[in-house]
Structure formats: C-alpha cells, structure tokens
C-alpha cells in the first residue's frame, strides 16, 4: 500500500505538488491521471525518496522509503525508460541493480525472459529502441519481485502489441495482490487498465474514486440537434427546460433534457428537425473538462484558424 498524506513539493513560488493525500491499495491497479505537468512524476519521485517533500509525507506499507532495508525487493519502479547508460549492456545494467540489493544474479535472466529481452541482453542499451528500453525499465522494476510497483507512463513508445502486453502484465501483477500505481495523461488508457483512479491537476487532488464511478458521475449527456430554423429551435428548447449552446455548422448542443423530450417538443411546435443525435462524451472529454482549469500548458488557437 502507498499512502500520501498532505504531500507537497514547492519550487520557489511554484507548487508542483500541493497538499496531496491519497492511497493506492493492494491488489488493484490504481491509475494516476493528470495532464502533463500536473505533478505525477514529482509525486512518484517523492514516493521513492528521490525528491524530498516540502511538506507532508508518503509511506510504503506504513514505512517511509528511506527505512526500507532492501528497497528493490519491496518497491519496483519504472520512472524514465531511457535511464540506462548507453554503453552498458542490458544484463550488466540489471546485474548492478540486483547486486545492490543482494538479489541473486539468476533473477536477472528471469526478468530478461519475462520482458522478452533475453536475446539482446548483451547488447548495449544505447542501441535499444524506445520500446526495448521501456521493456528493460520494466525488467528493472520486476527485479526484486516487489509487492509495490510504480510505472510512470509505461506505454510510451510501445507498439500496439507492447501496449497490450503492459496492460495484461499490470493486471496480472495486481491479481497477485501487489499494489500497482501507474501514471498516464491518457484517460482512455486508464479506463482499460486501472480499477481505481487518482486524478490530479496543477499538483492538487481532483478526485480519488473508482474508474466506473468516475465515468458515470462526470459524464454529461448531450444531444446534438439540427434544424433549418435554429432560432426557433433554441426558444423551443428553452421552453422545454433544456439548456443549449451553439455547435458546429448551425447545430445546437442540448443538455438537461434527453433526445425524446427534444423531439416531442419540436413536433408540438411544428418544427422540422434534420438531426437529433445523443452524444456520448468520451472519457477523454470528461477528463479534459475536469482538468481544463488545472492544465499547466494551454494551447491557444492559431490566429485565423477556425472561426
């Protein structure tokens, strides 16, 4: 179990992580979700004792990371896949890590086999593709057979087969009772892998909930309506108790009332409708709505683009 209590990290006036309290339980994959720059990596570094918190604390199974006797046997982490000396072979990279925690060298071959790098184990890690580096990083995390695993954006750079492999690996590790914390900036990825969610933005906790609850409680049903008389349509919707906003190409997006209510109201008013379609808000949109106020780096539209 990972438990953060009022965890904060300030760089001057910038609050990279701000009063963050959360828990990642045993036996489930907990997704750690937030836009780029939300503080996910900083939080993970604090969990591992690499960055010192400005305030608050974080523990692994009730103990601070610094007090772990054999850290790699209790916590495995994939932080940045490219964190390997380019001139060192994959096997020697893993061997040096294993030796530091008195893990037998035979385990190095085991994890190389698990991630499928046995054939290239003697090759210099600098010659690895991003996907191979990612697998090597995962091998390093698995080395001590730890009960707690942290993965920072593990699917970056992986091909579809690799992505599927990582998803299944995370799930099976959780099934074995381990605590899995996996960060991502992609909501759709989390929906397929995680059971629990911790959502942060600008360093603050936005939500800690299950993935299912998160989706149902944050999804707003929207109906796209199109009519040759948009002005009349708007007043009909107002009269029916809906709220609306203009969509693309003269369409209107309606919330609060459902498609059949809109259709009935339009028919009663003798108004022709050219389109009446319920919209399923994608997870990505839910996530973006929720974090839009908390996004560190906003893109602005190019001048002249759109209308």
């Amino acid at each position: 179990m990972i438990k953060a209590t009022a965890l904060s990290k300030h760089y001057g006036a910038t609050r990279a992580v701000d009063d963050l309290t959360f828990e990642a339980r045993d036996g489930v994959v907990t997704g750690f979700l937030g836009p780029n720059g939300a503080g996910k990596s900083t939080t993970m570094r604090m969990i591992l004792g690499l960055d010192h918190p400005s305030a608050g604390s974080v523990t692994i199974g009730e103990r601070p990371y610094q007090s772990l006797r054999w850290p790699l046997r209790e916590v495995g982490a994939l932080l940045d896949a490219s964190s390997v000396h380019p001139g060192r072979s994959a096997r020697n990279h893993l061997l040096s890590l294993a030796q530091s925690n008195a893990i037998p060298p035979s385990r190095v071959d085991e994890v190389l086999d698990i991630v499928g790098l046995t054939k290239v184990a003697s090759r210099k890690a600098g010659k690895f593709s991003l996907g191979m580096s990612q697998r090597l990083g995962i091998a390093g995390a698995l080395l001590g057979d730890p009960g707690v695993l942290l993965f920072d954006e593990p699917i970056n750079g992986l091909d579809p087969e690799g992505i599927l492999w990582v998803r299944n690996l995370l799930k099976s590790l959780a099934t074995e009772g381990r605590t899995i914390l996996v960060s991502s900036h992609l909501m759709s990825e989390m929906a397929q892998t995680a059971t629990e969610l911790i959502v942060i933005g600008k360093g603050r906790l936005i939500a800690q909930t299950s993935v299912d609850d998160f989706i149902t409680s944050n999804t707003v049903a929207t109906v796209l309506v199109r009519s040759p008389e948009p002005t009349r349509l708007a007043s009909v919707i107002d009269a029916a108790g809906g709220s609306w906003q203009p969509g693309e190409d003269g369409s209107i997006l309606v919330t609060k009332i459902n498609a059949s209510a809109i259709g009935d109201a339009a028919a009663a008013a003798g108004l022709a409708l050219h389109e009446l379609s319920p919209q399923n808000a994608s997870l990505e949109e839910v996530f973006m709505d929720l974090t839009s106020d908390a996004t560190e780096y906003h893109a602005t539209a190019l001048p002249g683009a759109g209308s």
């Binding site: 570094r45 610094q66 850290p71 000396h85 001139g87």
Partner: protein, 296 residues
C-alpha cells in the same frame, strides 16, 4: 512474492549497505568501455613518459648545464607521466558520478540505495581500489623502465640526497636503486597521487553533477590556477604555489634535494601527501553533503 526461495535465503536480515553497493558499483565501473580506455591511457602515459624523458635527459646529459644536473631527480622523472594521467584519473572520478546524472541512472541507483552516503562510499572504494592497483603497477614499471634507460646512457648509482657538489664532482648521470632510502616511497606516492586526484574529480562531480562543468573546474584547478599563480608577486605566490595539487604531486615524487624548487618552498613528502589527502576528503565530503541534501 516468491517467498521462501532463493531471494530470502541469500540475505535474510541485513540491508543495502556499502558491501552490496561496492559490488554493484564495481559492475557498473567495469561494464563500460571508457573505464578500460582511461586505465590504458594511465598505463601507457606512465610508462611512456618515463621512458621518453629518461631518454631525452640521458642523451643530452653531457651537454647540459650544472644547474640542470643539480635539479635532476631520477625518481621524479620516472613519475612524470602522472602529470598527464592526472587528467584521465580526474575525469574517471568525475564520470563515475556525472555519467549517472547525464544518463538518469542516478535515480535507479538512489532508489536502490536510499542512504546516499553509502553510495558515495561505494563509489570511492571502487575507484580507489581499481586505480590504486593500476597506478601502482604503472608507477613501479615506469621507475624500472626509466632507470634502465638512464643506465643505457651511462648512468651510475648515486645515493639519493647526495650533495650538489658530489653530483657535479662526479659529473655522472645519477641513477638510484628502488632500495635506496625514500625511493620506493616516492614511487608508491606517484601512484597514490593519481588515486587522490581522482577523488577530487569525484567530489567535484558530486557537487556540480554536469560532466563538462566538472571537467572544466578540475582542469582550472590542476592546470590554470598553477599558471596564474606564477604571475603573482613572489611574496604571495610562495604561499600558494607549494599547496597546488600538481606541486603536491611533485613534492610526493621527489627524493633528492628540494632546494632548487620554488626557492625551497616545496613541501616535504609527508606534508604534501597529507595536504592532498585533506583536499580529497574535503572535496568528497562537500560533494556528498550537497548530493544528500538535493533532489536526485
């Protein structure tokens, strides 16, 4: 989670410490090619410069001045390669730290060993042990190579520390035996000098973390500061020059008279060794303190 098998039995009890970390650091040290290239340069430079300088001095001995004869120290000449190798040793010491920061492996290293002082200790042990073996073998081979070159040019054995008059009277190319007083110690210290300056590089690396900055600082202190110090008025420079690392190296490898160097200001062998060891401890200590306090 495979409880009860190999892992548990290998190290029940115990914890990550300097012993497991030294093994790990040794694996890192030997598994990159630049380590072996650096060590090879130290061997080649050490033996090569001893042979070259002994040859040049032997060949021109009869035509050189009395002052040159008086200043000649056959042990010091045999160890002249250290003034090239010191850059390789320093960079090797720097890289053992800075390459971890530039490649990001420092995060894996420190996640595996949250007590950072033991990581520094393991690095110091590995680089000191590896360099000590290589530099001592090199220093002693360099001494014997230089000696046989001088003998080839008619060198005759003179007791070290023999007076100026005695040397000039003999007018002979002086050669010493390894068994002569102070000789074996000076040769040994030629090797130890390189170990100590590599720790300077390691300390600077811990402090600065960036390879280029660390190497620049190291070169400035070992090469540029001595040049600048020469420009100072002698009243001031005589208080600085003898304490510069490279001149400590000169003092450590000098057996004969010191009166001709820096107007007799060159430190004694013991004082020079002690001072350089203090520098190395201070550099590693300051660097380690900074590294422990900062975020990885």
């Amino acid at each position: 989670m495979n409880d009860g098998n190999s892992q548990e039995s290998v190290a029940r009890g115990g914890r990550v410490g300097i012993r497991t970390l030294a093994v790990s650091e040794a694996t890192k040290f030997r598994s990159i090619r630049s380590t072996w290239i650096s060590l090879a340069i130290i061997v080649v430079a050490g033996i090569g410069f001893s042979a070259l300088f002994s040859f040049l001095i032997g060949r021109s001995w009869t035509g050189s001045s009395q002052l040159e004869h008086a200043q000649f120290d056959p042990v010091r000449i045999s160890q002249s390669g250290i003034f090239i190798s010191q850059f390789v040793a320093g960079i090797l010491g720097a890289l053992i730290v800075t390459s971890e920061y530039s490649t990001g492996t420092i995060r894996a290293t420190l996640a595996a060993a949250p007590r950072r002082l033991s990581v520094v200790g393991a690095k110091v042990i590995v680089i000191s042990a590896a360099l000590l073996v290589v530099t001592e073998v090199t220093a002693f081979i360099a001494f014997f190579v230089g000696r046989s070159v001088l003998i080839n040019y008619g060198g005759t054995v003179v007791p070290p520390g023999a007076s100026l008059i005695e040397r000039i009277a003999r007018h002979a190319l002086p050669v010493v035996n390894i068994s002569s007083p102070g000789v074996a110690r000076a040769v040994f210290l030629g090797g130890l000098y390189l170990v100590l300056v590599s720790l300077l590089g390691l300390g600077f690396g811990l402090l600065l973390r960036h390879t280029t900055g660390t190497i620049a600082l190291y070169v400035v202190i070992l090469l540029i500061v001595p040049l600048l110090a020469q420009l100072l008025p002698q009243g001031i420079s005589s208080h600085i020059v003898p304490y510069l690392p490279s001149n400590l190296g000169l003092a450590m490898t000098t057996v004969g008279s010191r009166s001709t160097d820096f107007a007799g200001q060159l430190l004694s062998t013991g004082a020079a060794t002690f001072t350089l060891a203090l520098y190395a401890i201070a550099a590693v200590g300051i660097g380690a303190t900074a590294m422990i306090r900062r975020d990885a």
